[in-house]
Assembly symmetry: none
Homo-oligomer: 401 residues x 2
């Protein structure tokens, strides 16, 4: 894990630009019948050629065997120890839903559920009611006001919503109300530390009022609250690395996460072509760009090998536009692997390439798990990626005399 | 080194089985004249084929350059930080001799020695007296009773025995009685901390009584006591990994060590074929099996290259029986290297393969040090082996949202 306490002694400003392309779920694994991974099966001539002109390696997001969520996967690439900086489930749900979160805010994941006449849970997801039913209910819940904090309720999807508590001295050291079984009544929120007493009171008051507001609803007549979390305080990348950073990502969660990390989040469109255009338009304004490509992860999550291959091939077509920018350092990396044969995030090391004028000639033949394992960068923790980027961009001076 | 404080958040139970074959002293090094290692010289078609269908890598037991004993070598494979969980020399000697050790027991390695009329040491090993002479003397020593603790003396081999102290509040923070030179008298045991005063008193009382009991013996007329150690408290693997674990090992030391770690130690015979049979007989009862193969280490310790090659070839014949079990994850790993050219434990990274339905196609051509260095798992700390095993067995959920 990253642990270099002298960073402020070696970071310097420079007239150089870094572009970090994060391909969500980039890494894969061989499909047993063909013994080739998604990257190995894909026709990705631009990425292959780029690998040949770059320094390559594999990154381990957290630890061997540990499959990270998007939070730890991204934070590691940004140089944060993912074991130290945790983004809670409530906050991540809020960021993903585009809910504005400020320092001191506490967020919870909310579920609508169905309870019987005695308040016992009959369905923990309220029959998975669709958004057209749940959205008006969220608006009703959003009107609930209680003493001790400002509350807001934000619809996410189907039976899911976010409860945001805003106020002074709120803590997230709270128990969840979901008993995780049918036939039991929702639990009261208990403070796990004395300092959380106020937040617990607010949460319980909300749950009581929600029961009243939802009474009589056929399915969504109660709520369950989980994943209480405070907005984490991340040291700003802008200060830490003395750069001006911009994030280009269509999905709200990555926009929220990069904003937390001290990047300016640029307005952009829904497609990767839109993102590339946004980057180009703002290219002169920033030192560092994060740009996010989502489809590879989505296809991997679905267990759809062919779709992931296509997603990688579609990404490949955009590589020339990124190269045209002629950044001093271009990184192609992933927050974690999402092999189709796992159909989910996995622990596999993730291919990584770093292109700069200092790396021409270090490359491997192809951009794949197997080829990058033979690359000049070896297997490194993902937390080392930022250091390598800064070094190749002339932004780190010698450590020690 | 392993340091993942969120393990309890990600470990889940699953209906899957893991078999961990630990080949003691598995790793080797090229013999200068042929430039091939033991594994590279051996005819091991089953292991080679298995490597081709597995994910391969090299494990570093402790740190580069550090040759581990069997204790740290095994503990690392079981996922314990070998720098944090230490098994003292006395305890290891006791476990190796099959001495029953309970929480709070302190063990010491004992040597018979020869002293002159003034009590000065003339031979620190009593002329290496054979077991037929030393065993009856151990029985005499075993009868010694002193205030403050229950004592027992257990014969090990030749001039060596184990002294076990059992009582309340005993400490192992004690100095050794061996002055490590001839012509000096045995030292008294001193407490290194006030809390060890009682244990020191017991130890000194034992040494005094032993001198009386052994007076008049021609060679073994005194004892030296070293390596005081308390039974370490290891977090149980059963709790930590939420599995039911069984150990299949013929040698007492490995039986003792795995018992400490929370495994059920199965009765088994003296040969590896016996061990495999035992594993098969109990296959339905456990989630995880540790099975131990000793001969490779013994041959390496002897500096006998050809014997080590044979030991590996003999192991290879058992691989099909292990594969027949069709465990979800089969690991072939080693606690450390024992290259014949070193004639002892060494620091060399140890070949490692992980076979599962998720790893088909990741493999290398052969199971050897050189080939595994090119494997998809790269060079990893041995403490990562358990995480990888759990991940491939579907026993770890995603870390972080």
């Amino acid at each position: 894990m990253i642990d270099f306490p002298y960073l402020d002694q070696v970071v310097q400003k420079a007239d150089s630009k870094i572009v970090m392309l994060v391909v969500d779920g980039l890494g894969g694994a061989p499909r047993p019948d063909i013994r080739l991974s998604e990257l190995e099966s894909a026709r990705i001539p631009y990425l292959d050629r780029l690998a040949g002109e770059s320094a390559c390696g594999l990154t381990t997001p957290v630890l061997p065997g540990i499959a990270p969520g998007s939070g730890p996967g991204h934070l590691a690439l940004f140089g944060y120890d993912p074991l130290r900086y945790l983004v809670g489930r409530g906050v991540l749900e809020a960021l993903g839903a585009g809910v504005e979160m400020r320092d001191g805010d506490v967020a919870a994941r909310g579920n609508f559920c169905t309870v019987d006449g005695e308040g016992r849970i009959m369905d923990r997801r309220a029959g998975r009611i669709p958004s057209r039913e749940s959205e008006p209910l969220c608006q009703l819940l959003d009107r609930i006001q209680v003493d001790g904090a400002d509350l807001s309720v934000h619809h996410v999807k189907d039976y899911r919503f976010v409860l945001r508590m805003r106020g002074r001295g709120l803590s997230d050291r709270l128990t969840e109300t979901d008993p995780q079984k049918l036939g039991a009544t929702p639990l009261p929120v208990r403070p796990l530390e004395p300092v959380a007493a106020q937040a617990a009171q607010v949460a319980n008051a909300f749950a009581e009022r929600a029961a009243v507001v939802l009474k009589g609803q056929p399915r969504a007549n109660m709520v369950l609250l989980r994943g209480w979390s405070l907005l984490p305080r991340l040291p700003s990348m802008a200060e830490r690395y003395r750069m001006k950073l911009a994030a280009v990502a269509a999905y709200p969660m990555y926009r929220g996460l990069t904003s937390l990390a001290g990047m300016d989040v640029l307005p952009t469109g829904a497609t990767f072509a839109d993102e590339v255009r946004t980057l180009r338009e703002h290219y002169e304004e920033y030192d560092f760009f994060y740009i996010h490509y989502k489809p590879a992860d989505a296809a991997g999550e679905d267990g759809d090998f062919a779709a992931k291959v296509r997603a990688l091939e579609q990404l490949d077509e955009h590589i020339p536009s990124l190269l045209e920018l002629a950044a001093n350092v271009l990184l192609v990396c992933g927050d974690h692997a999402t092999p189709a044969i796992v159909a989910g995030h996995s622990w596999h090391p993730v291919p990584f390439l770093l292109h700069s004028r200092l790396t021409v000639g270090e490359g491997v033949e192809r951009f794949s798990e197997r080829a990058c394992a033979q690359g000049s960068l070896g297997q490194i923790p993902a937390t080392s990626v930022m250091f390598l980027a800064l070094a190749h961009a002339g932004r780190l001076v010698k450590f020690g005399a």
